[in-house]
């Protein structure tokens, strides 16, 4: 049987190549989903940890525990705690980076054994900290010796410089504790052996900062344990601190749930819950898990169409194969093969193909995953940060589900075909009239559902927005609606295709040349055979367009919004010195700031323009019924501001520069946000008075109202504790910086910088270092934009849509080519007959070209039409579902010509290659051989 199968497969190698391709792509697509998702989750979690580290300067995964071991309990707590903390890493499943144990006994009566004038009792903490010797450098004196005591029985201790100053001791000095002794009653005596400092102050080992240990004397660990712990613990009150630091770079997303459970246990149930002082990492993990589900659902939904297309492709090719093997099957049957045998033959064949599919699909899946992860826009791969792809168990689960599906799709048609004997076969060869879906109006049903979905969603955009803002997962129905729309519309155009061809035929019925005539006949009578491949082309083009526009639109709008909210390429504010201290000492001196040297900005390389911008976000004015209302105050230099910032004129009632000009000619003028006019009834020409954060007032004549202004958010959207969305009006006043300075003096301002096109902002950081300019704040817009591009949701969307598009193009090109070659092979006899009747080769080609126009060209045009309508209707809704709280700018559809050109050229090249192959086949065709085909 295997021999039969292999010979059969070799005979139809191209068809099997297609089946293999489909199966490999299906497995790869299915496997790439969990691969990408897991990789992105890991990256997200790492990002959260990194952010925490950057923001707080603290190690993100650490557990701090503090307790006192009282004399009375004899060290039980201490022992338990030590056991417990040692088991923590196993319990949490984390790798230990650093385990630090710090014990101390306290003496309040330490006296110098030397004659000192000021020999008062000193408070000292005799302690040890695990791992200390490896993290310090001695600056004075010496490290304690190996025994930890000198020949006179003095415990050798080392101290930090802080302790040295704080206790005012000197190196070499000896002390005796009068408030406690060793267990045997001998007094505890110490000797200051040396002074240490941290080798690296930024090392996370220093959970207990050296400068905070003002009275701490460090001694040898073994000696400390021998003297004060174990059996001796019952004589002392000990301070015990444990710091467990865990490596976070190797924490993977799948550990998140476990970590959350353990954290809950530690904080709520464990016997040591009261001793735990710090468990910040769990906030980081929670932060991450809150984003998780939205991303996984969205990515999955986005991948569904391409998966379905892959299944359809496999089905189409296997049907084609069964069609070709109908004769073989019926012959096998009439020679006595049972239905089961035939079915098994095809089952084994499918299993073999799908098996190879897994072998090829899994590695390809990881390639897909990498491509996915590098997509920074539709069909653009600019992200260099590589994803770590790992083969986790769920990857295999998805791959095997895909294999199961592909075996099923390839075998199911065999059930039908294995029934057919040679007798039914002849009867079935009659021309098909209508497809089943045409009879049950599936196209109309699909369209109906999608149009209903469209109206439903467009009526309820606010609730869509709400769930998006809350970070809920994308509503699958939304995506289903748009997909059904495309599918239904495509099928409808397929239904009318024969009618259109018939109409064209009828128009020139008498005039058609024989070749055209034959092609019309073929298309009108036999065109339904092509419906599948045509639907494929329609879907490729329309989904391709839809994907391109949705990816571009969603990303570009977010980028535009970010660009708008940041104001300029770089926004920064230096720390200003002032004379506050002096005014406190001498009330007669007036408070003033010392303005940093503004001319230094001239040396900032790559800065095209820069300007001073005064911002007071906490100003106020007398609002409705004289209530104090918040207003954001912006002081600008109109000309420079216009050079540094940019605003789309379409967003405003009049061009942006017009606003700036209006303000420029009115030194005492102000521009107000439009809600002053719309909600509070202000008008141009009114006088507007406002106060800064310190209550000093200023005012000006209103020269205009704007809907948008760089950085201005008309509404602030927040989510209250009930999870409801709250919108608050936000007011802004824009005035001349010079005017504001006349009112309020020179106060700290921001500097907004416009960098030259393509110049990296590195120059800015160098400038800051060179000028030693302490920054109070800064925003690097390119960094913010990069964050948007790398946002897992947007990035994943771009990746999946791009990936789907590439897969669809491959399927479409291969499918179309195979379909046509098969179709020509099956009609070779007829071409032979036509050639025998004296038809020229060119005319045969002309005939086939005509048929291609009716099928391929028609499909492409339909695809374009459907794609255009679909994105006009559905992208605005889809986009709403991706909104965030700070979406300010109105959402606009973004179409990029280059995408369409790329799409059309790929489809065009496919058709051209197809024609070329056709031409080669037709011109190589031998009439007598073709006629012989019919005799077999």
């Amino acid at each position: 049987m295997l021999g039969v199968m292999v010979r059969k497969m070799w005979h139809k190698k191209w068809l099997f190549f297609c089946l293999l391709l489909g199966s490999v792509l299906l497995v790869a697509t299915a496997a790439s989903y969990p691969m990408y998702r897991n990789a992105v989750y890991n990256r997200m979690l790492q990002d959260e940890f990194d952010d925490y580290l950057k923001l707080n300067g603290e190690w993100p995964v650490a557990i701090d525990m503090i307790t006192m071991s009282q004399k009375e309990e004899g060290g039980v707590t201490m022992n338990n705690m030590e056991n417990f903390t040692e088991g923590l890493s196993d319990r949490l499943g984390l790798t230990v980076k650093e385990n630090i144990v710090y014990y101390a006994v306290v003496s309040k009566e330490a006296y110098s054994v030397h004659d000192r004038e000021d020999n008062d009792a000193k408070g000292m903490r005799l302690s040890y900290m695990s791992g200390l010797p490896e993290h310090i450098t001695m600056v004075e004196g010496e490290m304690y010796s190996e025994d930890g005591v000198d020949e006179n029985g003095y415990v050798e201790v080392i101290i930090s410089q802080n302790t040295l100053l704080n206790l005012s001791v000197i190196v070499g000095e000896c002390y005796e504790f009068e408030d406690f002794t060793y267990a045997d009653g001998t007094p505890v005596k110490i000797k200051i052996n040396g002074v240490y400092e941290a080798t690296d102050r930024n090392d996370f080992y220093w959970q207990e900062r050296p400068e905070a240990m003002g009275t701490v004397l460090m001694m040898d660990e073994d000696l400390f344990r021998e003297s004060f712990t174990g059996d001796n613990a019952r004589h002392y009150n000990l301070t015990c601190k444990y710091y467990a630091l865990f490596e976070y770079e190797d924490i993977v997303a799948t550990q998140a749930v476990h970590l959350q459970q353990e954290a809950t246990y530690l904080l709520e149930e464990s016997a040591y819950r009261s001793t735990i002082s710090d468990l910040d990492f769990i906030d980081v993990v929670n932060n991450y898990t809150s984003k998780e589900s939205r991303i996984s659902t969205t990515l999955f939904i986005l991948q569904v169409p391409v998966m379905l297309l892959l299944c359809a492709f496999l089905f189409m090719i296997s049907c084609q194969m069964y069609e070709m093997e109908r004769n073989d099957i019926s012959v096998m049957k009439s020679r006595g093969a049972s239905r089961g045998q035939i079915f098994r033959l095809y089952l084994y064949q499918s299993i073999m193909l799908s098996g190879i599919g897994v072998l090829g699909g899994l590695p390809l899946g990881s390639v897909f995953c990498r491509i996915l992860g590098s997509a920074d826009n539709f069909l653009e791969f600019g992200i260099r940060r590589e994803l770590t792809v790992s083969y986790t168990w769920d990857v295999f689960v998805y791959a095997f589900i895909a294999v199961g599906v592909s075996v099923l799709i390839m075998t199911i048609p065999a059930l039908k075909h294995s029934k057919v004997s040679i007798v039914n076969l002849k009867q079935q060869k009659a021309l098909k009239k209508k497809s089943w879906w045409e009879k049950c109006f599936l196209d109309i049903i699909f369209l109906g559902i999608s149009v209903y979905g469209y109206y439903n969603f467009s009526k309820h955009t606010s609730s869509l927005l709400e769930s998006a803002v809350k970070g809920e997962a994308l509503d699958p129905l939304l995506y289903v609606s748009s997909s059904l729309f495309i599918l239904g519309f495509g099928m409808l155009l397929l239904r009318v295709q024969p009618l259109i061809v018939k109409l064209i035929y009828l128009i020139g019925r008498k005039r058609w040349r024989p070749a055209s005539y034959a092609s019309f006949m073929e298309t009108i009578k036999n065109g339904r055979k092509q419906q599948y491949i045509m639907l494929f082309m329609i879907l490729t083009v329309s989904l391709g367009m839809f994907n391109a526009v949705s990816a571009r639109t969603i990303l570009q709008n977010t980028l535009n919004n970010t660009e708008y909210l940041e104001g300029a390429d770089i926004v920064m504010q230096e720390v200003w010195e002032d004379n506050l201290m002096e005014t406190k000492m001498n009330p007669n001196i007036e408070f003033q700031y010392y303005e940093p040297d503004y001319s230094r900005f001239e040396t900032l390389e790559g800065a095209k323009n820069y300007t001073k911008v005064f911002i007071d976000t906490r100003g106020y004015f007398a609002g409705a019924s004289n209530r104090r209302s918040a207003v954001e105050i912006l002081g600008i230099h109109t000309k420079e501001f216009g050079q540094v910032t940019h605003l789309d004129d379409e967003l405003l009632a009049q061009p942006y520069y017009q606003y700036l000009n209006d303000l420029a000619v009115a030194p005492n003028g102000v521009l107000l946000s439009a809600n002053f006019r719309d909600k509070l009834g202000y008008a141009v020409g009114d006088y507007f008075t406002f106060n800064n954060i310190s209550g000093e007032s200023a005012g000006g004549l209103i020269v205009g109202f704007f809907d948008y202004w760089p950085t201005y958010e008309p509404e602030v959207v927040t989510i209250d504790e009930n999870g409801d969305i709250v919108k608050n009006d936000n007011y802004m006043v824009v005035a001349h910086l010079s005017t504001l300075q006349q009112y309020w003096g020179i106060t700290p301002y921001q500097v907004w910088i416009d960098m030259e096109e393509g110049k990296s902002t590195d120059a800015f950081y160098e400038w800051v270092e060179e000028n030693d300019a302490p920054l109070k704040m800064y925003v690097d817009r390119s960094e913010e934009l990069q964050k948007v591009v790398e946002d897992p949701l947007l990035q994943g969307m771009n990746g999946v849509l791009t990936m789907s598009f590439i897969v669809m193009i491959i399927l479409c090109a291969v499918g179309y080519l195979i379909y046509w070659i098969m179709s020509i092979r099956s009609r070779e006899l007829m071409f032979g007959v036509l050639r025998a009747f004296g038809m020229h080769k060119g005319e045969v080609l002309h005939m086939l070209t005509n048929e291609q126009i009716f099928s391929g060209f028609y499909s492409i045009l339909s695809g374009i039409a459907i794609g255009t309508v679909a994105y006009q209707l559905f992208v605005p809704i889809l986009q709403t579902a991706y909104s965030t709280t700070n979406q300010v700018l109105p959402l606009t559809l973004i179409t990029q010509t280059s995408d369409m050109v790329r799409l059309y050229s790929v489809v065009g090249i496919t058709m051209a290659v197809c024609l070329l192959v056709l031409a080669i086949i037709v011109f190589k065709m031998n009439i007598t051989k073709a006629l012989k085909l019919g005799e077999e």
Binding site: P514, Y517, A518, M521, M830, A836, F837, G838, M839, H840
Partner: protein, 226 residues
């Protein structure tokens, strides 16, 4: 008796592994006009090859096919195509109707191919009636029996009034009664339609119908009966 075509020294070699195989060896033959000539022989005797060469579907390795004083072997492809379109008609062993056209359209297509202008209806109907299918003109090929399909093919082959009709084993897939009927039809057509018919067959029973019978064996002409 006038000859419509003259075959002079025609040989046809095919390259096969290990040299050349001669399917036809030095055939010399005259085809009388408006008569039914039968090429007879076992399978592999070269009769189809010979017919394809006369019908300008294939080229001889050596030799000439003279028609109207011209060697059609030396004609350009375009000229040979025109010859096939306008002066020849073909009926093949297997059913060769265009599956997407009904009986009427199939016959009419031959007229379109030959470039015959004017109203085709009368001629198409005449031809279909001649083969006894006047009542099934709108049937699709798949709705006709094998014999009926073959008769439509014959109607199509003569519709444009060719001078020579080539029929390659036209009766091979038909039962003997039907075969006799088709052969009878051919015979009748030679006088009715003034057409020369060249037909191949391996059926001994049909021999008597032919005006000229040429027997081939292993590529060689073994005898010719008038």
């Amino acid at each position: 008796m006038k000859n419509i075509a003259e075959i002079i020294g025609v040989s046809r070699a095919f390259s096969v592994s290990g040299g050349e195989f001669y399917a036809l060896k030095n055939i010399n033959l005259e085809i009388p006009e408006n008569k039914l000539t039968i090429l007879r022989g076992k399978s592999g005797s070269g009769k189809t090859t010979l017919m394809n060469i006369i019908g300008a579907l294939d080229y001889p390795t050596t030799g000439q096919i003279m028609m109207d004083g011209r060697d059609i072997v030396k004609m350009s492809d375009r000229k040979r195509e025109k010859l096939r379109r306008t002066q020849f008609g073909f009926v093949f062993q297997s059913v060769s109707l265009i599956p997407t056209m009904n009986a009427y359209q199939n016959v009419e297509y031959a007229l379109r191919m030959a470039g015959i202008k004017g109203n085709h209806k009368a001629r198409v109907e005449e031809c279909l009636k001649m083969v006894g299918l006047g009542g099934r003109m709108t049937h699709m090929p798949s709705e006709l029996s094998g014999g009926e399909q073959q008769r439509v093919a014959i109607a199509r082959a003569i519709a444009h009034r060719p001078r020579i009709l080539f029929a390659d084993e036209p009766t091979a897939e038909l039962d003997s009664a039907m075969a006799a009927e088709v052969t009878e039809l051919f015979k009748r057509m030679t006088s009715q339609e003034n057409v020369t018919i060249i037909m191949t067959t391996h059926d001994v029973g049909l021999m008597d119908a032919g005006d000229v019978i040429v027997e081939l064996k292993d590529g060689e002409q073994v005898c010719q009966k008038q």
